[in-house]
Symmetry: C2
Subunit: 318 residues, 2 copies
């Protein structure tokens, strides 16, 4: 099955041609200026046309178009439900009509972390496991849960997606989601500068003269900076405690970590694996913690299993 696959993540956008578990070709999409999705759709259309030309394919060779979107999605209605700062016009767009007009193809759409989970399940780190939680550590903390080989969806399409928004500190900082002290509002890309800035003796730290992100945090910690080491240790603790919550919430056998922060993935995976082994209540055995294998392509590769799952759902006797 060949699919036109579009990944609209929080920090990057990419279109690709996917055939089953393989990404035949892809290209980054430049979203202009004000981050409106409507204005970017012609660029996406052009991107898919380029890819098809290079692969000597016609739009009619494809089964459909799939979009992974960085927000809450109602896949039955095939619409974006809610966004968190990015692509704020998306809930008003009729993407199904766009796919039909531009390519003559049907559309499927899902949350981007769920797409990454499906990709890693179908062709990456979670292959062969039907009970999986995915965590994406990046600008935010995304999540998704697969139970018995099916994505957990929930009444309003929110279940599993908000794993980064479990409160971990009752007197913590306010999160962009509205909650207090979420994992994301303590130790994600956007909240890291705030957490560092409030750390005792921050002014005396190497970080005070830097642009603060996970790259500079890991570098300053490597150099022995006490504040950076303190913050890094706090990040690891929060990620690990959040992992315990996710295991207790969704009962998985495998936890997969992806996202930009995973360029320093070994430290994180090892820390979380050790913590989870000591601190979860899993009388059946031990949850395995793994780094994602597909990097930024995971979402694109979720396209085929998403279509398969949606088509199975629609013929399922309930």
């Amino acid at each position: 099955m060949k699919v036109l696959s579009l990944d609209l993540g929080g920090t990057h956008a990419k279109c690709g041609i996917v055939e089953d578990g393989k990404l035949l070709r892809s290209q980054v999409v430049q979203i202009q200026g004000d981050g409106k999705l409507g204005a970017a759709l012609p660029t996406v259309t052009q991107g898919f046309a380029n890819l098809c030309q290079l692969e000597h394919l016609q739009f009619s060779d494809f089964y459909g178009v799939v979009i992974g979107f960085c927000g809450l999605v109602n896949r039955e209605a095939r619409r974006v439900v809610s966004t968190n700062f990015k692509y704020e016009d998306a809930p008003n767009l009729d993407l199904q009509a766009w796919a039909l007009q531009q390519f003559g193809l049907p559309l499927w759409i899902e949350n981007d972390a769920r797409m990454a989970l499906l990709g890693e399940w179908y062709a990456g780190a979670a292959k062969g496991n039907d009970d999986v939680v995915m965590v994406t550590l990046g600008t935010g903390i995304g999540g998704a849960a697969l139970m018995g080989g099916r994505l957990l969806i929930g009444k309003h399409s929110q279940a599993g997606c908000l794993g980064g928004h479990f409160p971990m500190r009752v007197d913590g900082e306010r999160c962009s989601c509205g909650a207090i002290g979420c994992a994301e509002s303590e130790v994600a890309g956007w909240s890291l500068p705030r957490t560092c800035g409030k750390w005792p003796q921050f002014e005396s730290s190497m970080l005070a003269g830097e642009e603060i992100n996970f790259k500079s945090l890991f570098r300053c910690a490597d150099a022995g900076d006490a504040v950076a080491l303190g913050v890094l240790n706090y990040c690891l603790k929060v990620w690990a405690a959040n992992a315990v919550a996710l295991v207790h919430a969704y009962d998985p056998e495998v936890l997969v970590y992806g996202g930009g922060v995973m360029r320093s993935g070994d430290i994180i995976v090892n820390y979380v694996q050790d913590y989870v082994a000591r601190h979860t209540w899993t009388p059946w055995g031990a949850v395995r913690v793994r780094a994602a294998l597909l990097g930024e392509d995971a979402g694109l590769l979720g396209a085929v299993p998403l279509i398969q799952e949606c088509e199975r759902s629609s013929t399922n006797v309930r």
Copy 2:
């Protein structure tokens, strides 16, 4: 449908005769000495025999026996999987054989918080809502999740049951489940004395001369004791933040609170309702927070919907 229903909770045990959504008659079961379940089964058998005699019924008038158990249960294998201090012999017992030998009836078994949720859904506070999370505040903090009218089970029967075991404080106290700083290890019946004992100026509090439980905590707070007020406020905050995590995890429309602590239920329900309205990311609307209506009988009344759900599952095309 008439069922012999047994509720083996953390702090009480009760057997009852249930007909659909009505509890016809019930009696408390005294579990002797060392809390072994095997030794208590003859008392349970005798209890059911007494109830039947009083109702002029024979064992053959019943559809089956249902047990709600305070631990992890594998309902397909019809066995207890893991206990947390109470009834430690239960995983070794063949309860199915016991039901067949004593009553000539088939057995169903589920976790006690899941049974309470089914009871409240079928005949109590969650009637008419198919997306429900139940929290039981008592000696521990129990949980259960209903999604789309089906209990969330998980690969190892743990999903939804461990809602009291989401870490809320990364540097908190160790929980009996193995995790650090769970809601349960901060503010449940068994952990409350520890939390009070470590509170600043505890020695000067009225609580220092008391047996510490939620009853004495509420009473001392009412009397204006500063430590009791501080601890109570902390309890409310942790329960409310835990509610945010549960909403973000399972995407329900209704949160139901039951358990012994709910004798002071209005304060808790109002606090959690207000906090959840302000601090969850629910673009679709507001989660409703309700006190359980069936009290200690909720678990017994889960019997009929449990059998219905199990029988639907076994005939469901997957």
